[in-house]
Assembly symmetry: C2
Homo-oligomer: 695 residues x 2
Amino acid sequence: MKNAQSFIGRMAVLALVTLGGTAAARGDEGMWLFNQPPKKILQEKYGFEPTGPWLTNLQRASVRFNSGGSGSFVSSDGLVMTNHHVGADALQKLSSHERDYIATGFHARTQAEEIKCVDLELNVLVGIEDVTARINAAVKPGASAAESQKARRAAMNNLEKESADKTGLRCDVVTLYRGGLYHLYSYKRYTDVRLVFAPEMAVAFFGGDPDNFEYPRYDLDICFFRIYENDRPLKVEHYLKWSAEGAADGELVFVSGHPGHTNRLDTVANLEFLRDRVYPYTLNLIRRREVLLSIYSERGLENARRAKEDLFAMQNARKARAGGLAGLQDPAVMGDKRKEEKKLRDAVQADPRLSKSAGDAWSQVGSAVKTWNDIFYRHQLLEAGHAFLCKKFEIARFLVRLAEESAKPNADRLREYRESNLQSVRLMLFSEAPIYDDLETVKLADALSMYMEIAGADNELVQKVLAGKSPRDRAAELIRGSRLADVAVRRQLADGGLKAIQSSDDPMIRLARLVDEPARRVRKSFEDKVEEPLRQAYAKIADARFALVGTDVYPDATFTLRLSFGEVKGYTDLGVQLPPWTTLGGAYRHAEEHGSRWPFALPQSWLDRKPRLNLDTPFNFVLTSDIIGGNSGSPVVNRRGELVGIIFDGNLESLVWDFVYTEQTGRAIAVHSSAIREALRKVYDDQKLADELGR
Amino acid sequence: MKNAQSFIGRMAVLALVTLGGTAAARGDEGMWLFNQPPKKILQEKYGFEPTGPWLTNLQRASVRFNSGGSGSFVSSDGLVMTNHHVGADALQKLSSHERDYIATGFHARTQAEEIKCVDLELNVLVGIEDVTARINAAVKPGASAAESQKARRAAMNNLEKESADKTGLRCDVVTLYRGGLYHLYSYKRYTDVRLVFAPEMAVAFFGGDPDNFEYPRYDLDICFFRIYENDRPLKVEHYLKWSAEGAADGELVFVSGHPGHTNRLDTVANLEFLRDRVYPYTLNLIRRREVLLSIYSERGLENARRAKEDLFAMQNARKARAGGLAGLQDPAVMGDKRKEEKKLRDAVQADPRLSKSAGDAWSQVGSAVKTWNDIFYRHQLLEAGHAFLCKKFEIARFLVRLAEESAKPNADRLREYRESNLQSVRLMLFSEAPIYDDLETVKLADALSMYMEIAGADNELVQKVLAGKSPRDRAAELIRGSRLADVAVRRQLADGGLKAIQSSDDPMIRLARLVDEPARRVRKSFEDKVEEPLRQAYAKIADARFALVGTDVYPDATFTLRLSFGEVKGYTDLGVQLPPWTTLGGAYRHAEEHGSRWPFALPQSWLDRKPRLNLDTPFNFVLTSDIIGGNSGSPVVNRRGELVGIIFDGNLESLVWDFVYTEQTGRAIAVHSSAIREALRKVYDDQKLADELGR
């Protein structure tokens, strides 16, 4: 449920990031923009109208985890709640052979004990501005796709810098409806983030991979951080009050979070490409890495600790993608998509104006996708870096490109090296997160082997990369020889600019330089021949849809703040009526039914404190609100804006939500607010933290 | 180390089975024919000459497990020793929710307690006859490849039937040197095989997947069966005496077993095809199934039990194939292959007679491999059945083809349905081995999904197979609807012949019928356009090699009995000198070093009895003898023909032996005979079984 983009690193989905679509909502469907909330639908279906202050408080209380998830302020003292599995990246980076915070959990009893995270960046959205006219004005009529791409990028890079310089905020131009609209999002950016509390993984991820994306569930998938400013807890005006009772059956609730990516309005040709190429490739890659990390992990406890977060990420992504592929391979889903597309195309055809503006959009998508298919593997291997997948290569590429891009005017830089994004790049680049050479070596050896398999052993670049050695030997040589684990070395290289990079004899820097030109070449092909044509075609479709369906539509997810709504509501699975929530007592029964063996073994703390707990306390609950990977950690609030739960997953039936929302059996899954307080008080003996919630 | 063919079911390697090659031996290299033992080399290097009786006793004491391994008679009362992981297939089929013999082991204290296996066939080789002239005579000069293929098959099918009718033995024509020679092997065939003893998997496979193919090792990878005839233990004249001391450092030893398949003399073009297509495809498939079975297993203890053998098979195959691919991707290995090939081709070119007979053989291999590449996926999906991989489909295919083939003259039948093989087919077909519908469904759903991915969603046959449903729904429908788990239903269908098959409404039979014609079509393409041209080309190369190198060469492995020799000998790994053997005491230390957690936890029996054991007893040892998957369970004997150990694995460095033997660090790994007796006596309190060994 975490944002799959971060989960599977730079996998295939990354290529999709800038695309987007529009949908006509049904039922409780929709990931709505905060500046275009679904007022009409809410009024009609639930008789509820969100007020300005209600929306503002929820928006400003929402927090984006740039590592790939969502969260919210739950006290005026900068306390942020998210999922354990969103915090896990930070926990992993703070852990060592001596202290495994993922396994044991972490508990600061005083603020002094809260420990600073290594490279965590949190963002709070403070402003949204429509800049569509300015971005579109930059593109001259009749310009080629390459010229359009370049002009649009320059406009975005410059606008962001201008705005950031003026406000001191993080400013991102967000492409909505795949080009239908451009909004400038301004964020407060926080990097002094400290770990407050995490439960043991055994209860945060109770049921493990078998129970992931399942319901009924029993997970305390929570984690607390605190934002500091000037070495003191951040004082916030906007945070969520804690509901006295928590979510109730049938209650109207809202989710405010950062859904990562959806493809709801892809054309059929585009979906077929996902089905036939992108998903199968991605799943093979995920399974390959899952097996690799499992093998590595089984060799010993320390290995298992080092690979834990990576392995979980692979398992989570594998299950999510497999569910997505199952949807794409389901003729019922595809049949509906075909019908919908035909209906829209017929309507466009029937309207002379629309027919002229958008009639050719579908065939444009089709031919862009065909080009995409032609360069797909090269793009994944070289530009997405799957051929060299390890942290040292990632750092080397960052260093090489930072030097190259910094030497250019801001307008001409690759998007991620635009002036306004450099702070975030540097945060990652100079992260003190540990790097394990043994793990790096097995990952790189496997990646190089895959590169040889796909690109071919006789490929000229493959031969240059391998330098006459086997993938294993070459990987060992590269990892052993590179000094990039040392942050001081990285800083020196970054400070030295192009000259330092060009004269570096670090073998990983040399590899990154070797593959940089071909990687840039395929990226340029992708941007000019795939991304831009798709953007133009989808913008036409979006405009046609606006004209036909009206404005009450929402854009596909873009890992930016969205508002969903829905009901707390059980469902029927294979004839069995599943309740709207589980209870703490159910967790103990679930463990017993599985022999209390990992991953169904509750931690000792929970076994010890069972007698104290109110076993009827609701634990996890299901709701119809529309979510997707990236929504992990999103607060669930009631009509009064009070926190009643925290999203941590969707059920198996919701995995098709990548492409289509269905509320018959698809559900989001959340931890109930009552369980959080009950556990903090009676399992973890933390009256103080429990009392701080919502205060 | 078990025969990879059986391990990975009908995977890519199956297509290779009938190919073979020749090699000029180096060092202790060679998997020698029992009727062409390497007398000269043994005499020169070790001053040893195997006598006729010595060879006969070893040959007749050797046992083939048709489920994919080797074994030997170790008492005059028909007691057969093999590996636990070879016996695991039988153990799994005898197990149920109530009794998990793989986990707990099995121990018959009396002969009355020995239990009959479900579908195990053991073979003992009693005769070898050269039938090359007769097989080759069947092929008319100037015949097309398709005609040659047909004529050769007819000759083989008929010869086998004729011989079987005459002798009452199982008779197989074995293609050696990929067509250079044809030998008729006659076997005694035993199917009343009873389980005598198996240790717990925790000690048989101590160290699990992490330690698989590793050394030092500490595995009691043994299992005892007893052959019965007329409900009484088989009395055998030829069995192995038990060595008093077991293997000693530097001692000359022999391995007699059934290596499954090697590609040592493939041309470079053929090896490149394995590297670029066969191995990557096979590894993706293995990883895919490994992940699938892991997920299924993690859902509960009973699931884990049901999938245990399958999952182990996948993990074993994955490690073996990955090692093979690493060899193929190693430019040093491929460089040597290129040099060798050039040397041979130059020598052929320099000899006018050879140049005429074999000069074009390499380009013939090249073009056959090209055709193979064109039909590779179709062949794997449809004929090897990867698109429908589950037991019920396997049974359905057997039934459909048995009916079709039985209606034809023996000469024209597909090889596996030749008259002389029908007993073995029926043994499998009517096996009472349990079939689990839930496991079948997840396997079939995944296979159908893969089929859709590779063949394409719009493929006409894909659409017919899926019948308008998603892979998951279709798999559920097929498995739920099929009654083929019931052996009586299978017998009825088999007895009913073609008519019963054609009128059956069992959905799996209907699926097998639907795909039969296209599957046969691609099989015929493979046989006529790939197999036969390769056979002819490789036969030419083999003849040229005989002419140039002489007759002291051995054929590639064919899962038939071979003799290897070598020394008990440690080696140096990354600068560390590894001893020729480990000890029982080492096992306890190894467990402790890994926190005694699975798979490094010794069973309770071993913990309890530690004080009684002589901890200095040698446990596992390494030897230079040439082995490959299928050799698992092979006896290791000394100059006197006494049993000193049992092969169960090779080290990582030996995985390249698929293509090239190297003895610098490559080693076979065996359980030491002394450890077996010590464990039987002191851990398992079985003085009787220990005393029976070698008696």
